[in-house]
Symmetry: none
Subunit: 203 residues, 2 copies
């Protein structure tokens, strides 16, 4: 029983991927998820043989998702999906333990051959590259809420606006902000946003 889990925040892309992966010989089941949290839930319930994860995701980021999947099961086989040239994100995810990546605008044949290969060989890995893997150890771990607040900041929202968006009081947003500042070592929101980008926590 070979199953694949596909994660992408865009419903259209998700469906297209689901259909494409389903045509790979040997794949019996394809499940989908819209975000990192859902991936972790589904993975906990039913471990697929392969996971495809979009690098750019709201909420729990791709890097964090990869890290948590691997801490749950170090044997998890993960392939990143990327749209454009955000190679930084891919690099970080690969450094975090993903097996490789796929361009979303790769041909269907390309996708199929990569998936086939990854399924056939449990040790399959994209050519190992020299990445900033050393940096990853020090990467601050933000909670989902903290990342949501950080993302709000990166979109120019005030604490009050973020609170309205997340159905929280402004004071609660401030608490999350203070905690994430401390974790990141940021002196203010602008600094926090910059560090978020440098760590690949937001994009």
């Amino acid at each position: 029983m070979t199953s694949v889990l596909v994660c992408d925040d865009s419903p259209l892309a998700r469906e297209a991927l689901r259909r494409a992966v389903a045509t790979v010989p040997g794949v019996e089941r394809v499940t989908t998820a819209a975000n990192g949290e859902e991936v972790l839930r589904r993975w906990g319930a039913d471990r697929s043989d392969l996971i495809l994860v979009d690098v750019r995701m709201p909420g729990l980021g791709a890097v964090e998702t990869v890290r948590r999947l691997l801490s749950a099961d170090s044997g998890a086989r993960i392939i990143m999906l990327t749209v454009a040239e955000d190679l930084d994100g891919v690099a970080l995810a690969v450094a975090a333990g993903a097996r490789g990546y796929l361009h979303k605008d790769a041909s269907r044949a390309e996708l199929r051959s990569t998936v086939t290969q990854a399924l056939a060989d449990p040790t399959w890995r994209l050519a190992p590259r020299r990445l900033r893997s050393a940096d990853m150890g020090a990467a601050p771990t933000l909670t989902a809420r903290e990342i949501q607040v950080l993302e709000g900041m990166s979109h120019g929202r005030s604490n009050a606006e973020i609170g309205r968006e997340l159905f929280l009081s402004e004071d609660t947003v401030k608490t999350h902000a203070r905690r994430l500042f401390k974790k990141l070592g940021a002196s203010d929101r602008a600094h926090a946003v910059a560090l978020g980008f440098r760590w690949g926590l937001v994009r």
Copy 2:
């Protein structure tokens, strides 16, 4: 009577956009079109105050649509809609005369604020710049000083600290800050830093 015209080839996206734009304060009517030809027809019949056009369209392309709209009425206010990182298309459309662009996966608040801004100010432009077709990056042009100030912000410096670093008064730093906010379309320093990263102006 404020009206907005939305053009997108995907019915789902079209409806979602229509609903989102309809919630913008001051907008009384939202009409939709599925392609460039229809936009031109509707524009001929009844000129809206603002037009949102998907960059990716079948038949008459977005760039050609923009060009024809502007040749019919040079005051037409057009904002491009883009899905991914097809900056080429956006850049061409902006070069052709579009006022700016919006990521389709931008938050509803972001969309609303951009539309509000564009409706409020007839001269609104995402980044007032002298675009050449070769510009291609479409990145807003910040002056050296503005980039220095933005970099200071990205390192968590206060305006006063940035001033001391650059041998400027705090008030001067504030002036540079205000100007770069306007150029980037940022609402505060955190947003400006985020946009700086997204445009590749800082790292």
